[in-house]
């Protein structure tokens, strides 16, 4: 932050002032302190990030600010002042006139936060009519269309008539934002606004926020677990950990010179594109709220901690009074000095064996329609996977990346024969899997496993870990009871779980532990291929790192082939040898991992890469915007399926003929009409803006 900005800041009025707030909840076993001594400020025109892992209390703080804690929770001490008004003593009437009017809370999950049976326009108009006293319904509607236009939703009049389910996820998020902005709020609270959105949609949303910041002079409190998003648009950042604020200050100083071991560890554990950094897991776990350790709350996981940290209260200390950088750590000056040495990764080229699975022109169509509907109506099937060819080798990790709805999960499931393919062939161990006999199919199932995104949903809730692991051992191996017990212990050791959890049931485990059990189960029968469907996307970033490291090690140890499905390119980069990029059911680029991240790029991959928010707040990204949403897979565009959104579209050629995957050198295949020299060139964003 420059001194000029600093001067502006002191002149600005403080809009929101949260001072030493404690929030308690009454739970069956007594009371828990969800927030302890939390302070935070938002000034007019400023974007303040509130970061932290799940369970840190971010949303609780947001709800405390608007006085909407659950019935069993209350602000126990401290004060919350909004523009001079004491929020904690405000009457119901006062609260109602502030909520939605001066403080807009934009909740996470836009899909479930919009009323499903009310038109978008009416949901926005309701706020306007409540707080702005428009002269007429027409005047209110004017404002509705205006705000819908501001959030970049196409055809505002038409959009206002739609129901939430008729919008895409990104559009729903914009509609939520429109509801929030409709009354020109002074404070905008955005709770995980981009979680659940694709990177490209997220990038567009962040650009929109950036634009709106200049139009509305509102203060923004941005809550997110994604540090990249904060680096991208916030001015200041606050890091919350298990209910305590550990560091706060300008984004530039906090991200480049973290003064708290937690911030440092969090930055070191976040995978970053293109940076040759070896992600480092944070050891240990977040303390339970009903068992808060005395002293520093992070001490148990901290490499700087001494006995001194484990007793007494650790106060917030000023790191730099000019910028307002503060850290809750006795040793912040040591931390800030030791710019945590990030180990750089040494690329070890692993040798890959024979082809394990070969897919040729695989197709999977859904909803092909009954004879009747096909006769009576114009019915197209949904082409979820369209003509995909791919080979996976022994001990090779292949990444499959693409936006949601591109067909990557369908592909993963179809090749394990969880779905019946519509056409094409899948050869496993050089045999067509459609021709396997019953016993051979059973063997195939034991050798090809799958790990799902949601570990809780994929583990039987009524079985113990021992029973969960014994099942594949019984089904697929001929081990006796003793052998199975030994193997269970070995497996748990390999996924870094103590043998003491064998008697526990899934709900007694944390998300990370559950995923480890799921991984152990998949490896139980020593499979030759594992499909990993978004294995870390429901996990916190600190847990993510350790799971990714684990998967990497197991791949080497067992020589298993992976097909790793993810929407997150940085996760893919961590463990994959080769990447396939999927768009609308087709693979449009495939290459060894390192080559995907350097030119020549497929225009779509280039857009995906540029959409990822970077951790370094000083890097300006030249972002390539993709217009519109992914087209309907029921009715894909003619020619190249990407031409409707392609910033580098040539012209008619792209609309008429479908390019095929061609090797541009070193096993790097791209399907595009451009030749490689054009794909090498950086593209001008302006060219695209002209088209708008």
């Amino acid at each position: 932050m420059t001194t000029q900005r600093q001067a502006e800041r002191t002149e600005q009025e403080t809009l929101l002032e949260v001072d030493s707030v404690d929030v308690n909840f009454e739970v069956p076993d007594g009371q828990i302190q969800a927030l302890r001594n939390v302070s935070l400020e938002v000034e007019r025109g400023e974007t303040v990030g509130l970061a932290g892992e799940s369970g840190s209390g971010k949303s609780t703080l947001a709800f405390a600010i608007v006085r909407y804690l659950d019935a069993n929770g209350w602000v126990d001490s401290g004060s919350i002042r909004f523009d001079g008004m004491d929020m904690l003593s405000a009457s119901t009437e006062q609260l109602r006139s502030v909520r939605g009017n001066r403080i807009a809370h934009v909740a996470q999950n836009p899909g479930s936060s919009l009323n499903p049976s009310m038109r978008i326009g009416k949901q926005i108009r309701e706020s306007v009519e409540l707080h702005q006293n428009p002269d007429s319904k027409a005047a209110a509607n004017e404002r509705v269309y205006e705000v819908l236009d501001q959030v970049d939703l196409p055809d505002p009049e038409g959009m206002a008539e739609r129901y939430p389910h008729e919008l895409s996820g990104g559009q729903q998020q914009r509609a939520m934002l429109a509801v929030g902005l409709s009354c020109n709020p002074d404070l905008l609270i955005l709770d995980e606004p981009t979680t659940g959105l694709d990177v490209t949609t997220q990038a567009k949303f962040l650009d929109l926020l950036e634009e709106l910041k200049s139009e509305y002079d509102a203060g923004i409190l941005l809550i997110t677990h994604n540090l990249g998003v904060i680096a991208e648009i916030a001015d200041r950042v606050n890091l919350l950990y298990a209910g305590e604020m550990l560091e706060s200050g300008p984004v530039e100083s906090v991200f480049t010179d973290p003064a708290n071991p937690y911030t440092q560890a969090l930055l070191a554990t976040t995978p970053e594109m293109d940076a040759d950094k070896k992600i480092r897991p944070i050891p240990g776990q977040i303390p339970e709220l009903d068992d808060i350790p005395p002293g520093c709350i992070f001490a148990d996981r901290c490499e700087y901690a001494t006995e001194n940290c484990r007793t007494g209260e650790v106060p917030m200390e000023t790191v730099d009074s000019a910028t307002g950088h503060e850290s809750r750590c006795h040793y912040w000056s040591d931390v800030i000095g030791s710019t945590a040495e990030l180990e750089t990764e040494t690329e070890t080229e692993r040798t890959h064996g024979e082809a394990v699975m070969t897919i040729d022109s695989l197709r999977k169509y859904y909803d092909e329609g009954s004879l009747l509907t096909n006769l009576l109506t114009d019915h197209d099937p949904v082409k979820a996977v369209n003509d995909v060819s791919l080979t996976i080798h022994e001990s090779e990790a292949v990444g499959l990346v693409g936006e949601s709805g591109c067909g990557k999960s369908t592909l993963g499931r179809t090749l394990l024969k969880l779905h019946e393919a519509t056409g094409g062939s899948i050869r496993y161990d050089d045999r067509d899997i459609d021709e396997l006999s019953r016993s051979e199919l059973n063997e195939f199932r034991s050798e090809c496993q799958i790990i799902f995104q949601d570990p809780e949903g994929s583990l039987n809730p009524s079985r113990t870990v021992r029973e969960i692991l014994a099942r594949p051992l019984k089904l697929f191996t001929d081990l006796g009871a003793e052998g199975r017990a030994e193997r269970t212990e070995e497996l748990l050791g390999q996924v870094n779980l103590g043998a003491n959890i064998v008697g526990k049931k899934p709900h007694e485990l944390s998300g990370g532990q559950q995923q480890r059990v799921a991984i152990a189960r998949a490896f139980a029968a020593r499979p030759s291929l594992i499909v990993l469907d978004e294995p870390v996307s429901s996990l916190d970033v600190s847990v993510q790192a350790s799971i990714l490291n684990l998967l990497k090690n197991l791949c080497v140890e067992y020589g298993t082939a992976y097909l790793l499905i993810s929407h997150d390119l940085s996760v893919i980069e961590e463990i994959c040898d080769r990447v396939a990029v999927m768009y609308l059911g087709e693979i449009i680029e495939t290459a060894p991992t390192s080559q995907v991240f350097e030119p020549p790029y497929h225009p779509y991959t280039r857009a995906l890469l540029s959409s990822i928010p970077l951790l370094d707040p000083e890097t300006e990204t030249d972002r390539i915007k993709l217009e519109g949403d992914v087209p309907e897979p029921r009715d894909p565009p003619t020619g190249c399926s990407f031409h409707t959104r392609c910033p580098q579209k040539i012209g008619e050629e792209c609309e008429q003929s479908d390019p095929s995957l061609e090797d541009v050198g070193g096993g790097h295949c791209i399907s595009c009409h451009h030749d490689t020299t054009e794909l090498d060139q950086p593209i001008e964003n302006q060219k695209h803006d002209d088209n708008r």
């Binding site: 909407y68 609260l95 109602r96 936060s113 499903p116 706020s127 707080h131």
Partner: protein, 317 residues
């Protein structure tokens, strides 16, 4: 609206009617015992029995009888009564109208009392109001309708509280008051169980709706609580109640037999009992089939009501 879907549903409905009529035919025709014997008594001569069987068409092969019966059902021709010789459709029609009136009044009572009470209980969740409503509905659920019918009869049709007639029916054209006067008691008796059921369903789905994230959004927009309840929660929370109402319509068609008998109400239910008594096969078959068809139609109507309540539900997708 999707016409292909409507057409499909219509075909399914016909198939359901066909299946039900086959079942009715099987139960009533293939059971042991000779209808002619029932009509004539045990002392009848064999020629006489054969004569009656020929008259009734019972001497034909079973499959011919079956086709004749099913064909009749689809054209709403149920043959003639064995006892009176009158066409069954003529006999059943006025009675069906009366039973439907009873059902409609009963249904209206449960809608106008159970739904608001359910909403109040949900809005005042875990307060004394909620507990009172919920507890009372438990009692309602556990009292069978013939018990409540008898109790109502005892309490309100004889001195000191002779508020209602003991039974019977007065047509609507003779005035709304006397019509309702005769209908009210049987309608309430039919209602005790349904009402409690509808109430509990409304309460639980409203509670769930009020905890949803879009209700939180509405409250954080500053919307007043009454508007949150009726503007945002009502329509979404009502959906499961519609299902329950449609299913209850079917239950009512069963309960009607006992209730009509107790209140001497000249509807289909009473006719069923008379038909069983006199082994009047065609009447019995029709009296079972017609309410069943009404039930199938009620469920179809419920499906259409869904689409009106929730824009996410479209017919056929």
């Amino acid at each position: 609206m999707n016409y292909v879907y409507l057409l499909k549903r219509l075909v399914y409905m016909l198939a359901a009617v066909l299946a039900v009529s086959s079942a009715v035919f099987a139960i009533t025709t293939l059971v042991p015992g000779n209808v002619a014997n029932y009509i004539l008594g045990t002392g009848a001569t064999e020629e006489r029995v054969a004569q009656v069987e020929a008259d009734l068409g019972l001497d034909r092969p079973v499959h011919v009888q079956y086709l004749d019966f099913v064909g009749g059902v689809l054209t709403l021709d149920f043959g003639e009564s064995f006892v009176s010789g009158q066409p069954v459709s003529e006999m059943i029609w006025p009675r069906l109208i009366r039973t439907l009136q009873l059902a409609a009044v009963a249904m209206t009572i449960s809608i106008v009392t159970a739904i608001p009470l359910g909403i109040v209980a949900a809005a005042k969740r875990d307060t004394i109001v909620d507990q009172l409503v919920t507890t009372t509905s438990y009692i309602g659920l556990s009292v069978p309708s013939f018990v409540s019918a008898t109790l109502l009869l005892l309490l309100f049709t004889s001195p000191p509280l002779e508020l209602f007639p003991r039974g019977g029916y007065v047509a609507l054209k003779n005035g709304v008051i006397p019509w309702l006067h005769h209908l009210l008691l049987p309608a309430i008796a039919m209602n005790t169980v349904i009402l409690a059921y509808v109430l509990r369903q409304t309460r639980s789905s409203m509670v769930e709706t009020l905890e949803s994230e879009y209700i939180r959004t509405a409250r954080l927009k500053g919307v007043a609580e009454s508007k949150v309840l009726f503007g945002h929660a009502f329509r979404n929370g009502l959906l499961p109640t519609v299902t329950v109402l449609a299913l209850n319509f079917g239950w009512m068609m069963g309960a009607v037999v006992i209730i009509e008998e107790i209140f001497a109400y000249p509807g289909v239910g009473e006719m069923i009992i008379q038909a069983v008594d006199s082994r009047d096969l065609p009447v019995l078959q029709a009296a079972i089939l017609v309410p069943t068809i009404a039930f199938i139609i009620a469920n179809f109507v419920a499906d259409i009501v869904y689409t009106l309540l929730d824009p996410r539900i479209t017919l056929g997708e």
